[in-house]
Symmetry: C2
Subunit: 376 residues, 2 copies
């Protein structure tokens, strides 16, 4: 294998596949990046127990300015290799496989010779059945991931809750995540009738996926088989394992009748909650109180050691009964951040029943649920 | 005490004194910031075992827009107080001491009430004898600190080496630091004849001092007494304790005759050393080799597991005998960074004797010393 390539283009590809490479793996060859050069171009692969990423750079890419002198493949220790490429003195780099799987990396006067591994020993990536396919703009998928994945469980006691539940049926795609204290569910319409599916994707995989996309305007194809999902763009294959087991029926958790409703601008409410949580974070119980009464909405926070805070907040509209309710401000903050700069309505049943948050714009099917904290 | 003030101006003062406040102190009142309001303006104080910082904001400061309604003083828990001020909704904040040393912090609709401590219980700052005084532009002092303090020892086994040795005599100021493996010494001329002194200032204090200055064009007055030094600018008093004990005689360490001399541009040499150290960092011995022979200077680095690197580097001038010498690249990197983007000459005696680095511009009295690593 012998290749000369623009250093920046190469680094771009390398940093994408490095998302899948961990130095902690017990399988030595997986600490490496697989480099495969064909007459068509360059392909890099990184993999761990959860995800695998394969990128492809065509020989016609004008920025990459590839000079393919000899095809072939090799595996190089990813961390070092990345650091070396980053620090090279010139804009181009030449990689050449020598005897004994050694690789010469040259750029200007700098000549590295590093030890490689036989690419034949690199594990095969899973073969994914492409029958159950769905196509979405990257932008739409990224948004859905951001709107739900924060609500997954961080604990392995119920592994299924560490994933996001995706259901495709009746020309709509639903994504829902819950850690049993709060829930976030987003539904989008699908343009064509698509194959139905029902899968749970690990939250961590989705975050890495979201960071691996380079162009929000691209289309991503999602292909599913029994225990794998493949996200495919023009230049990247991103594989993730699926979580096994039955995801709980979250639909029955979402209440439908309420006694108090109040709407806010998200940014206003968020900054008041952030102030109140400064003190609540110090108390033994991390709780903030919202009191809704005639024409007034007030946020309270306190810490016995430090002091207390109260703040009357502007609301847009208020209907129903007066209410005092306490909640974990961290759940409220992440819920509000997921909505972004819009207006929302919060609907309450009672101080001890979960409350819902939804955009006031009823065109958007996005609902969040937070369980309050009982204070007596 | 009651004060209304621009929030940004107040935060500026607060973040300066917070450099001296540690939450780890065993003296509870020192986790606080002392706030003192007089008819002249606002003074804030923070202190720990090593340094104390006092800032002063005059009532005439136009940006601060102070409204002094009632003078007085209070001590507030610094970490929370800073976070609260940062998150307030409006551009101004009002602080008012209530009964029982509680303090109301209000800004827009947000009303915090936090617990304070009696300012009378805050320790007195040391009284510094102002006889031995020296005046310097902040820029000059900052540069001297950056040029020397990186070479202090990080180990407490010889506490005196954790400081920078400053000597004022014969119209010049000398600063030197060494950890016994490398040394950095900078000398600057002083304009007026100044009082002689010989002190060792903790390296950590100097770094905080350097970060506390806001205006490089200001003049700083340095006043010394037996175990304290005070750095004074128009709006800040910065106190540091001095290290006790005798600093070693470093002058006799600096060699004066050499067998090989070679000069480089610092940036060129630094980037080659950084590449070589990528591999040397992985080996058991973190060493990089420089080989100087007829018309050629080459840097070598290697790691048995990963591979090796060699790079011929451009030099400016070379005289004397051929030489091969090995050294810790980390010492070389910090030495080169302290020089900045200039040309330097490196002078060698033999592969086992310390070598010196100096600017090729002989007007600048700045010398560094690095002990090589014996490889056989």
């Amino acid at each position: 294998m012998k290749l000369t390539i623009n250093r920046t283009s190469f680094l771009n590809e390398l940093s994408t596949v490095q998302r899948a490479i961990s130095s902690k793996t017990t399988i030595p060859i997986l600490t490496g990046v697989k480099i495969k050069l064909t007459t068509e171009g360059l392909s890099l692969t990184g993999s761990n127990a959860d995800i695998s990423i394969e990128t492809f750079l065509t020989k016609n890419d004008t920025k990459a300015q590839m000079l393919i002198e000899e095809t072939g493949s090799i595996v190089l220790q990813a961390r070092f290799f990345g650091e070396i490429i980053r620090k090279l003195p010139e804009n181009t780099v030449t990689l050449e496989v020598l005897d004994n799987k050694q690789v010469a990396i040259t750029s200007g006067a700098a000549e590295f010779v590093v030890n490689g591994l036989d690419a034949d020993n690199y594990p095969q990536l899973p073969v994914v059945d492409e029958i159950k396919q769905l196509q979405l703009p990257v932008r739409v998928l990224n948004k859905m991931i951001n709107e739900t994945s924060f609500a997954i469980s961080q604990h392995e006691s119920r592994p299924i809750l560490t994933g996001v539940h995706f259901i495709s049926s009746s020309s709509r795609l639903l994504a829902v995540a819950t850690d049993s204290h709060r829930l976030s569910q987003r539904v989008i319409p699908l343009e064509d009738v698509q194959e139905d599916f029902d899968i749970v994707i690990p939250g961590k995989s989705l975050l890495e996926l979201s960071r691996s996309f380079k162009d929000e305007e691209e289309i991503v194809s999602i292909s599913i088989m029994e225990n794998q999902v493949l996200f495919k763009t023009a230049n990247m294959y991103f594989y993730s394992r699926l979580l096994e087991g039955k995801y709980p029926d979250t639909n029955r958790l979402i209440p439908t009748s309420f006694s108090t409703e109040i709407s806010f601008n998200v940014a206003n409410l968020l900054s008041a909650i952030e102030r109140a949580s400064l003190l609540s974070h110090e108390g033994r119980n991390n709780i903030v109180k919202l009191a809704v009464s005639d024409n007034k909405a007030t946020i309270y926070g306190n810490s016995p050691e430090i002091g207390n805070v109260q703040e009357e907040i502007n609301y847009i509209e208020m209907t129903g009964d007066p209410l005092e309710i306490s909640f974990n401000p961290d759940y409220m903050k992440s819920a509000l951040k997921a909505f972004g700069g819009i207006d929302i309505v919060i609907k309450f049943i009672s101080p001890i029943r979960p409350f819902t948050l939804e955009p006031t714009d009823s065109e958007i099917s996005f609902i969040q649920l937070i369980t309050p904290v009982r204070t007596n």
